[in-house]
Structure formats: structure tokens, C-alpha cells
Amino acid sequence: MYGTYAKTMLKYFIAEGVVCKHSIFLASQDSSPHEVIREIPAVIHFDPDSSFDFAEPKVSDSKMKIAFRYENLPTHDNEDKHINLGHFYDLTKPMPLADIENTDIYYWNGCRVENGVSAFSNPAYNDLLRQIKTKIKEDRFFLKDNPSKKSILRIAVHSLGSPLWLPMKNSLHSVDSSKDLDMFIFCMRALVRSALAVAVITIPSHLYHENALERCIHSSDISIRLQSFAGTELETNKALSEYHGFFQLIKLAPINSFASKHPGSIEYVFKLRRKKFVIDKLHLPPDFEDDSDRKKKKLSLLDVMGQVGSY
């Protein structure tokens, strides 16, 4: 909702790049890229809020009489919790400037965009693509360059397609057109595929029609939607009260494989806590309260029917 959560995720992406000493290309028109860099979270060496331990799953002592088949099984699914990937970050602390200064970061804020002839109605799109291409070329990130020391260029584009990316006033395109955005993502994918680069783009999806978003999803490899509960009926749902929104994996392209790793019907939820952005599997709680509610409803309905019958 309004790009807040997406911006937090983007900060994690940049912070991971800084920690892994990758090159970073940061583009944003809405906020100053320098400011975004200043806000990236500091790395911490353990997860302070971690509630699970990495030890062997505990086996319950109590004997099961009926569901004995489940007796020795762990109480929750631990398979994906053992993966030790990436680092932990603390959102309350900013990354020390010394770490940032040692990283190769290119900032793009769309201020010095030249009005040249291009297929885009807003020259900013063209300029950004050109700058990314120059960066890839100059720092030898193209696959054909075959660099001796392999590194990755992390491209982070914040709030692409926000009103600042609208067509110019005298453009022939209407403000409703998403042609520029579609074309940009299409070109970007081609560019990133041919280089040692990975791009994360955040889009304020509430400003676009579903059809326009579908086209963007089609041109992307991985698509994630953060659907906030704010202002919707889900906000008052007791089962979801702990969380801020759904974390939907819309698309997970099967790159270099036949099968997609899309988790299928599993639903994920997210919450933005003070120190970290948490993504959890959604487990619906037992339906106790609803059950009593339903009974009440049934009773009152019987009452009502009884009254109708007595007429």
C-alpha cells in the first residue's frame, strides 16, 4: 500500500548487496536515492527474535493413543528453516557509512534527463535504461565480457511507474497508458538476462489497471505482490490480525529448469515490525470462536423459524 512495504524490501535487497560487496545501481525519482541508501538497515549477526532453534526437532514424550502414526513426527515443518541464506538486518539501525562508502553504488534520480527522440513518451525511462546499459558495459558485467573476478550488479528501481513517470504534458499518450512501463520492463529483462545482473523493481500497483500489471508480470521472472490489509475487510479479521498483508508469489519463472518452484497453494503473510520485516506461512487458527458463533446463529435462526411456524 503506497509503496511503504515494498520500499522496506528494496532496502533489504540493497543492504544484502552492500554486505556481499556487490555493485549497486539505485534508481528512484520519488525519493532521493542518497536518502534511500542512508536508510538501509545495518547487518546483525544473529536473529534476535528467532523463536525456533536449529537443533533436532524435539520428540514429544506423551504417547498418542489414537493418532499414533503422528507420534514421532515434528510438531511443525522445519525443512525450510534450516536454510542459512543471506544475513539478518535490524531496521532500527542504519548501515554504518563506512560500509556504504566502500561499495560501488551508482545513483540515478532522473534529474538530468535529456529530451531526445525515443520510443518512450517519458524520456526518463529511456535515460534509465541507457544508464544501466552504460554501467553494465563500463564495469564489464556483460556475460560475453567473461570477467576474471565475477561479481553481480544489483539494480534496484524504486517506485517505477509512479506519477513522476507519467507521460509529459504534450505527449500523445494519455495518462492512463502503461505502454512505457510495459516496454521498460521488457527491455530491462533482456538487458539483465545478458549480464551478470539482477534487478528488483517496485511498482505502485494501485495506480495501474490489472491488465497493465498482467503485462508487467508477463515480462518479469519473479513477481511478488504485497497486498496490504489496511482499509479492507481483512483488517478486522481475527485470524489475520497479527499481520499487515498477504505476501503473494504471483510468478516464479522456472529458469534453467522444467518445473516451477512455485509453492502452490501455500499462502504467505507479512508484517512490518519495528526491527524486521517478517514473512510467515499463513496458518489459520482453530475455528473455536466461529463455532460458538455459528451455534448461536443456528439457535437464533431456529428461534426465528419457530416464530414463523407459530403464526
Partner: protein
């Protein structure tokens, strides 16, 4: 709740009021003006529409500085003027954003406001009025402006409701709908009362009386009910004192277990 969000401290950075001809933004503006006057904030009113002299005369008496933009000027000049008026604890009212959009385009206006927002510090506020009925591409424009605003208010005079979205600095977003009315020039809102579903169903059922659905009489009047209750069926044992019948008498003796069925008195006849 809306009043709380309108009068937060430090003030919300960008308040967007979306109004229309039937319900203008003035009651909300008056509320905000009074609030800022109490706190001794500087109010600057940028006028893009209407008769400047008239508006200036009214607003000057209320201690509000007016700036004439009714004749078109370049966006750079406007931006420069806005910057010079931005002092600590100052409030800038733009009346209205539609005129800016027609003059400088949606992108130009948004860019100008966005740049301006980056410079706003705590204690300063921009209030923009957007006449939704004057816009060609109303939905898109209002979405874009709402994206930039920290508190967006939309008035719907048809149902007397106000829709608002408030974005907290921390990132949480609140979307609410409230009922509004104007009492003695004051803008008053109150939370929507949620009707009890059970009560509504009950009321509806009480409304549908079977008597009204039939062409014949289906119910009983009170007197009829009374006489029905007082009737003693002949096969039931009567009060001995009351019976003065000579000769034969029927004695009905209930079985010990499960003999009498209210719903089907002839159950024991095995028909």
C-alpha cells in the same frame, strides 16, 4: 476520528481535500483555519480561481495572507513563490489543484508538489483542494494525488459520507468511512453505526406477518385466544365440583409412560 487526523501535532504534511460543486471543501478548511489560528501558525492562501479581490477581502479579515495566481504564470515562478512562503510553522493552501493540473499537466504538478514535499519539515503543512467534478480523468488524477498525500479526504454529498486515507509516518495506512454533517458552519463527523444483523433479520420477520399474505383469516384475536385457552376438551378430566352430570361419565386415565402427544393426540389409535 477524522478530526483527530486533521489536528495532529506535528501537522500532517499534505492534506488533500477532494470536493465537488454540491459539497465544497470550505467547512473542512474552516476547521483547519481555526485549528492553525489557535496555534499561531502562518496561513498562506494561493488563489487560482475566482475573484481575487473579493476572496482577498474576506480572507485578510481572518488574518490569512493571499497570493494571486488567477492569471497564468510559469511553474518555476510558482515553485519559487511557494518556497519563499515556506517558513517554520507555515501552512500553505492551494485552491485549487485542478487549475495547476490544467496549466502544467499532471506530471508537472505532481513533480512540483513532490519536490516541495521533500523540503517540508515538521510543523509545516500543505493543503490542496481538488475539484473532482472539473477533472477529465478524475480517477487517475485522484489516485496520483492520493499517492502523494499523507491525508486524503473525499466528500460524497449524496450519502453524506466522507472517505479518508491517513498514512502514518511509520508506514501504516488507515482507510475509513465516516458520516458527516454541517452544524452551524462546523464540520462534524461521526463513525458509521453498524446495524446488528440479528436485529435486522428479526425486524424484517416481524414486518412480514402471515396475516397479510393470505386472503383468509389465519390468526386469532386476543379474545379468541382467551376463549380457546379456557375451553376444556370433553375427554379431559374436569373439575369434580363443576361436574353435575348424572349418569355416565368419561374417565380418561393417562398411561404412566409416553401417552399424551400434544402434536398428534390420536397417536395411540394406530391409524
Amino acid at each position: 476520528m477524522l478530526n483527530t487526523y486533521l489536528q495532529t501535532s506535528p501537522p500532517t504534511k499534505f492534506i488533500l481535500i477532494q470536493d465537488c460543486l454540491q459539497e465544497k471543501a470550505h467547512p473542512i478548511l474552516n476547521l483547519l483555519k481555526n485549528h492553525h489560528h489557535k496555534l499561531n501558525h502562518d496561513l498562506s492562501y494561493f488563489i487560482f480561481e475566482g475573484n481575487y479581490l473579493k476572496i482577498n477581502a474576506t480572507l485578510s479579515s481572518q488574518n490569512i495572507k493571499c497570493h494571486n495566481f488567477t492569471s497564468p504564470s510559469s511553474i518555476e515562478a510558482l515553485e519559487k513563490d511557494l518556497r519563499t512562503k515556506l517558513k517554520p510553522n507555515s501552512v500553505i493552501i492551494l485552491d485549487s489543484l485542478v487549475h495547476l493540473i490544467y496549466l502544467y499537466g499532471l506530471k508537472g504538478t505532481y513533480e512540483m508538489l513532490n519536490n516541495f514535499m521533500k523540503e517540508i519539515k515538521d510543523g509545516q503543512q500543505i493543503i490542496g483542494i481538488l475539484h473532482t467534478d472539473l477533472l477529465e480523468n478524475c480517477d487517475k488524477v485522484s489516485q496520483c494525488m492520493e499517492h502523494l498525500s499523507s491525508l486524503s479526504i473525499m466528500l460524497d454529498p449524496l450519502v453524506s459520507r466522507v472517505y479518508y486515507t491517513y498514512k502514518k509516518v511509520g508506514g501504516r495506512v488507515f482507510k475509513q468511512i465516516e458520516e458527516y454533517r454541517i452544524e452551524g458552519g462546523q464540520f462534524v463527523t461521526e463513525a458509521l453505526k453498524k446495524p446488528d444483523v440479528h436485529k435486522l433479520v428479526q425486524d424484517k420477520i416481524n414486518e412480514i406477518s402471515p396475516e397479510l399474505l393470505t386472503t383468509f383469516k389465519i390468526g386469532l384475536t386476543d379474545t379468541e385466544k382467551e376463549s380457546r385457552d379456557s375451553l376444556v376438551l370433553p375427554y379431559l378430566p374436569k373439575d369434580k365440583d363443576a361436574t353435575t352430570v348424572e349418569g355416565g361419565e368419561i374417565f380418561y386415565k393417562f398411561d404412566e409412560v409416553d401417552d399424551w402427544d400434544e402434536e398428534d393426540p390420536d397417536d395411540d389409535l394406530d391409524i
